[in-house]
Symmetry: C2
Subunit: 210 residues, 2 copies
């Protein structure tokens, strides 16, 4: 089979499930295969952040122009600032055969899936409810308010899991990173992603009959 276009992969999951760490490891181990999408945002750069590395930093006007021009795959507002996924970078990398990874929440994930129906959706979770509970409660130093808000957030996050393709259990980090890599690699072998190669094979078989 020839090398196909890359696959768009959305990674969501419970807060504290270790999404960021998994993706950092994945990029370090397989930088030739993956591209991490860089978000655009209207929030101010923090100390040490560089435009085009952590984020594409935009003014509110620029960001709204990007929305108007359809340049964002998805966007949302959070604490008064816009965050979004620029379409151009994603498409360039996919065309170049890279699998592009977006780390976004369920609402964004569903918008991406609508625009790119072939998107692979992964949901990262700690190994058990018990473990998730412990991470939400913390070390007994949190106020009930904080715990309640974390719980509410986890329940929101859990609400959309059915929309995802795979559940990724982050117990041992290395095993989890390997698992994510395998899932994405195997996705390239899906019949639905190889239809033109399959048709070519059929046509070659037919042409041989004459």
């Amino acid at each position: 089979m020839q090398k196909n276009k890359g696959i768009l992969v959305v990674v969501s999951g419970f807060s504290g499930a270790g999404k960021g760490t998994i993706m950092k490891e994945l990029m370090q181990k397989h930088s030739d295969q993956y591209a991490l999408s860089i978000s655009a945002t209207t929030r101010a750069p923090r100390c040490g952040e560089t435009d085009g590395v952590e984020y594409f930093f935009k003014s509110r006007e620029e960001f709204e122009q990007m929305i108007a021009d359809g340049e964002l795959v998805e966007y949302a507002q959070y604490v008064g600032n816009y965050y979004g996924t620029p379409r151009a970078y994603v498409e360039e990398q996919l065309e170049a055969g890279k699998d592009v990874i977006l780390e976004i929440e369920i609402q964004g994930a569903l918008k991406v899936k609508e625009r790119f129906p072939d998107t692979l959706l992964l949901f990262v979770t700690p190994p058990s409810a018990e473990e998730l509970k412990n991470r939400l409660v913390g070390r007994g130093t949190e106020t009930m308010d904080v715990i309640e808000s974390r719980l509410a957030r986890a329940m929101d996050e859990a609400d959309g899991i059915e929309a995802y393709d795979y559940l990724v259990i982050n117990d041992v980090l290395d095993a989890c990173v390997a698992e994510v890599h395998e899932i994405i690699k195997n996705e390239h072998y899906r019949v639905s992603r190889n239809l033109s190669a399959i048709n070519n094979m059929r046509n070659e078989l037919k042409s041989f009959k004459r």
Copy 2:
């Protein structure tokens, strides 16, 4: 996540793609995880074949009784003999948490998928049309009749590929066996196969809120 029921896996593919070898290797390397379904047949045992090992050998009357009693997941006639997949063994092994592998043709595969909608369908192919062509033509010692009938068969086999989930390319045997193992292993992490575990997690989160 708890250990779930096993997954029913159908392996089909082009003649000469090496399905049999792949499955033998898979069973040897991971005999604790997989169970190979044993077919029932009305054909006579060949020298060295044992009832319950290569096949369950049945009389025509016995086989037709099994059909009447709904004891077969699928069956077909081939060169005057019946071949079929006994349901009981498959269900026992799945319940025991083993992934059960059936090696059957497209028609049987579709019947299995109808009865067990969660079946994972794998299609094995040589790495290229060229390679497939070479295997069909053989070493120049075959008559045109033989070649024509192999080609016709390959075209039949290729007809139903869209019904399958994954295309498995058998180039280097060891890599191919590892690939099949990974695909089946990852299938256990499909969200659709973990709905009860997900609901349990949600309920535990909710119960903790009170």
